[in-house]
């Protein structure tokens, strides 16, 4: 960077009086010996002088009263300015799911404690140990103590330790018109299907 570039970089700070004493002395000595930079600085200074001396803009004389009336109206309807921005739903959904996951992960150590485990253990469905059933040998009434087991493991959740008896009623299906007397007025026909179990 040559001396002129360095000098032009300091114009703004020099105008704002924000240069060090050494910078000021160096710049002023450079400007006195460099007509090009001096002309540049004069234009820079004139530009800012003109900007700073622009006439002030007058506002309406009744602005305080107008502003007060408008402020009263706006205060009566606060939504006019303070409108809450609409938030997309996915943020709430994601936040809820994340909170639930955090909550559940916090519960995991508690679920593994012996006290909680014992509560769950009590609620388990106890399946009875399978019973050895002796099979009768054909032609003999002798009951052997060395009976062959027919089942060693429970094959379902039913309790095999007790006898369960299912009684099925015979199902009678009547095909055709219903045999029950119709409650409809005479002359009016209706159709019914009766299935009896």
């Amino acid at each position: 960077m040559n001396r002129c570039d360095q000098a032009r970089r300091l114009f703004g700070a020099y105008w704002d009086d924000e240069v060090t004493q050494a910078e000021r002395e160096w710049l002023e000595s450079h400007l006195s010996g460099c007509p090009s930079c001096r002309q540049q600085y004069e234009q820079f200074a004139r530009t800012l002088e003109t900007v700073g001396s622009l006439p002030r803009t007058d506002v309406a004389a009744d602005l305080p009263e107008r502003a007060l009336a408008a402020a009263r109206r706006a205060a009566a309807v606060p939504d006019r300015i303070a409108v809450a921005p609409a938030r997309p739903m996915w943020i709430q959904v994601t936040a809820t799911v994340a909170l639930l996951l955090v909550g559940l992960s916090g519960l995991l150590p508690w679920l593994e404690t012996p006290a909680v485990q014992s509560v769950f253990a009590r609620r388990e469905t106890r399946v009875a140990e399978p019973r050895y059933v002796a099979t009768a040998t054909s032609g003999t009434a002798h009951r052997s103590d060395h009976a062959r087991p027919v089942a060693t493991l429970a094959d379902s959740l039913f309790d095999h330790s007790e006898d369960v008896e299912f009684i099925l009623d015979p199902v009678v299906l009547h095909r055709g018109r219903a045999q029950t007397p119709s409650r409809l007025p005479k002359g009016v026909q209706g159709e019914q299907a009766v299935i009896s179990f």
């Binding site: 703004g12 820079f44 530009t47 803009t57 506002v59 602005l63 305080p64 502003a67 402020a71």
Partner: protein, 187 residues
Amino acid sequence: MGRVAEDDERAFTELVRRFQGRVGNLISRVLNDRESVDDLAQEVFVRVFVHRRNYRRGSKFSTWVFTIAANLAKNEIRRRVRRRNWFSLDALTEVLSDSLPQLADPTESRERGMEREQLQGAVGRAIATVPEKYRLALVLRDIEGLAYEEIAEVLGLPGGTVRSRINRARGMLQRKLQPLLRKQDAP
């Protein structure tokens, strides 16, 4: 401002009276549009009143009111940029060259007065062509005379960024005005 926060309407009108000139001038210089100044300045003070309880006691009121004014001016510039498609370039130039209030010095010659008016008009238009982010910093510094630290607070930017924006804005303005200033220097 403390009294305004407690719903004192007389204090509010006094506050408007005290700051309306600076707020109006900021808006006028940033937009280079005299017509919109009253409406936008009114909107600034309405916001001051509506948000009066958000004002932090102890902070500088001028910084707060300039922040509101700068944000409103920015919004207005963006709104106009969006609407620019509906204007012809000539109409836009006409809008930008809106007549500035001329305060003529009675002792000044007619010719000299016209030159000065032309220069002021050209400077106003040149400011309006500087990009918005540089323009606001420039107006706050070189027209409203705010300190760099206060501008940083108003614009919500670091001090270094504010200095750099002001330097760039000044450079742009000087380049735009150079032909005019040279013409004025010529005998």
